[in-house]
Amino acid sequence: MSIEPLLIVLAEDDDGHASLVQRNLERAGLANRLHRLKDGQEALDFLRGEGDYAGRNTSQPVLVLLDIKMPRVDGVEVLRQLKADPRTALIPVIMLTTTDDPREIQRCYELGCSVYVTKPVDYQGFVEAIKRLGLFLQVVRVPENGHR
């Protein structure tokens, strides 16, 4: 088992939002690779190593940035499925969305998201949260392939 660099997975259907997140991460010196996914289903496939991503090495530590409003499978559903599956339950998730509806926020925390960030983003705080989680991730074991 080797420590691999943290992979940041961004599930976001809006190209502009994706670009903004990427720019801010780069500016903050988070050189980790950012992998952009277009919707919730793709995010689930990617994280589970299924569908188009069958055979992907899922042992690499990841951090997921999830938009709530996405076509096909929405962010909340992705979060629910990730937390319901022991293989992916420990992956830290940051909800990144335009909704500041208290009920929606409450629901996401109940489902087990690590951080909830409301867009338009306070990028400073956003970057801080990612850094902290990334650091956290360096010392926490991530479920391996063999646990499937």
């Binding site: 809006d14 502009g16 939002h17 903004l20 720019r23 500016r27 409003k69 335009t98 909704t99 500041d100 509806d101 009920r103 867009k119 338009p120 983003v121 990028y123």
Partner: protein
């Protein structure tokens, strides 16, 4: 039974039943009158018979006295008397016979009377002949025999008269009876008509009037944004109207919810492009900074640097500034819209709310602003309300916040919060408690009272912060509580906002009984203006 009849049928019944009673009454009356007339006729008939008998009697008596005059005095003038008696008596008896044709016993007696009077009249003729032929003395001796014949006829006359008198008595009695019956028919029938009409009218009107009252009450509740009463039962027109009214109210309510949902999703969708605008304008500024650094490098020609920096510092910087200002404003408007739609959708936690505690919390939070404005806040007695604690806090926070914000800098500010009793409650909805927030601030011109509770209604945009939705939010929350909000204001003197909220235990019938007042809400005229005019603090938000 009332409720099953339509108003039309009720009206018809109301008309027809007394009409029927009247018809019966008239028939009975006509019958009574006919009876009376009949009795009267018979009574008159008997009298006529008696008169005829008397006539016969008198004729006979005259005939006898004529003979006596002739016999004793040789009085020729008296000849007329017995001659007339002989002439007329038979026809008089005949007339009498015709009169009593229906009475067999009387017929027999008249027959007898005819023969007896015939004997007497024969005697008078014999006497006359004797006198004329000079047999006066003989005639004198015959007088007693004549008296006997007359007596026999008289006896028969008495018998006939006696019978008729008895008949007369019976018929007079019948006449009186039928007169009395007629009178009672009149009185009783009249009373029956009046009684039946009044009874029916009362019976039906009670049903109609009470139900109309429910309709009227519903209309008032609707206009005040309070929950409607439960639908009327029955099948008449009033029920129909009531049902239509409930449907209309339900549709309006649904429309309102749909509107809020629409506003919510639209403003939510607007946020996504807004994030891009905001984020990329930020990126643009950062890129400009990089460009600036680039232009300051040594290897850039002076002319290019000057031109480039001028573009960056003026044109581009200004463009970005305007974009960012606009985006900021847009973001605030969208945010306000979201809050407004959420105020109508968020689920309420119904409970007893300690308004006094809520108010103290708000005043504490506003402490710095209040002391900065050297204002004094007086809190009177605040009784608890029944509602959602968060919403109630927002309502009072808005009103007290406004009061502080729009104080008149020219005089020491004074704000009073309390529960309004007596006067303010008169005509107010039942089960509600009226609170007030009073200030001695700038006041609101009368012309703007109506618009105070409308969203985005700012007219001193330069001095006010926010988007001017505070009072619109307050109104929506008060409406959802089944309450009312209105204001009184005099320009330059101050403003008082009144909020009527469910009073708690007593009002639980409406709010706590599982029926959220919200389920029958519509835009209501929530303002009442009784104050003066004055420059309006732009948006009271």
């Amino acid at each position: 039974m009332n409720t099953r009849l339509t108003i039309f049928k009720k009206g018809l019944t109301l008309l027809s039943v007394p009409l029927l009673v009247q018809a019966v009454f008239i028939a009975v009356l006509v019958k009574a009158q006919a009876d009376y007339d009949h009795a009267q006729e018979w009574a008159a008939h008997t009298k006529e018979v008696i008169a005829k008998i008397e006539e016969v009697h008198r004729g006979l008596v005259e005939g006898y006295s004529g003979i006596r005059g002739l016999v004793f005095l040789d009085d020729l003038t008296s000849t007329e008397l017995h001659r007339r008696a002989r002439e007329r008596t038979p026809e008089r008896i005949e007339a009498l016979r015709v009169l009593v044709w229906d009475n067999d016993r009387q017929q027999g007696r008249i027959q007898e009377l005819a023969s007896r009077s015939g004997a007497f009249l024969g005697w008078t003729a014999e006497q006359e002949r004797l006198v004329h032929s000079g047999g006066r003395d003989r005639a004198l001796t015959q007088l007693d025999a004549g008296a006997g014949l007359l007596g026999a006829a008289r006896a028969m006359i008495d018998e006939i008269r006696h019978e008729e008198e008895q008949l007369d008595q019976a018929r007079m009695e019948r006449l009186h009876q039928s007169a009395a019956r007629r009178l009672w028919t009149l009185v009783g029938g009249g009373a029956a008509i009046v009684a039946s009409t009044v009874l029916l009218a009362l019976l039906f009107l009670q049903g109609i009037v009470q139900r109309l009252d429910v309709l009227r009450d519903n209309a008032r509740r609707f206009s005040e944004g309070r929950p409607l009463r439960s639908p009327l039962s029955g099948r008449d027109e009033i029920t129909e109207v009531d049902r239509a009214f409930h449907e209309m109210a339900g549709n309006l309510n649904q429309q309102k919810q749909e509107n809020e949902m629409f506003v919510y999703s639209v403003s939510h969708d607007l946020r996504s492009p807004l994030v891009n605008l905001q984020g990329f304008s930020e990126e643009l500024s950062l890129s400009c900074r990089d460009l600036q650094a680039l232009f300051h490098r040594q290897d850039v020609p002076e002319a290019v640097r000057r031109r480039g920096l001028a573009l960056l510092d003026h044109d581009i910087a200004e463009s970005i500034r305007f974009i960012q200002t606009a985006v900021g404003r847009l973001a605030r408007i969208i945010d306000a819209l979201l809050r407004l739609s959420r105020a109508g959708r968020v689920e309420y936690q119904w409970q007893r709310v300690d308004v006094a505690a809520v108010t103290h919390k708000i005043i504490e939070a506003l402490h710095d602003t209040i002391s900065a404005r050297k204002a004094e806040v007086v809190v009177g007695e605040l009784l608890p309300a029944w509602g959602d604690p968060t919403a109630v806090e927002q309502i009072f926070a808005n009103l007290i916040g406004n009061a502080v914000q729009y104080l008149d800098p020219a005089r020491p500010g004074r704000i009073e919060v309390g529960t309004s009793g007596g006067e303010a409650m008169v005509g107010g909805p039942a089960g509600l408690r009226v609170y007030y927030v009073q200030d001695n601030g700038l006041g609101i011109p009368r012309a703007y009272h109506q618009r105070m509770f409308t969203a985005f209604n700012r007219f001193h945009a330069e001095t006010a912060q926010g988007e001017g939705i505070g009072l619109a939010l307050v109104r929506r929350m008060v409406e959802r509580h089944g309450g009312r909000i209105w204001l009184e204001s005099t320009e330059g003197v101050g403003t008082t906002f009144f909020v009527a909220l469910p009073a708690g235990a007593e009002a639980e019938t409406e709010t706590g009984a599982g029926v959220e007042p919200d389920s029958h809400q519509w835009p209501a005229p929530t303002q009442e203006s009784r104050g003066g005019r004055s420059p309006c603090p732009s948006s009271r938000s």
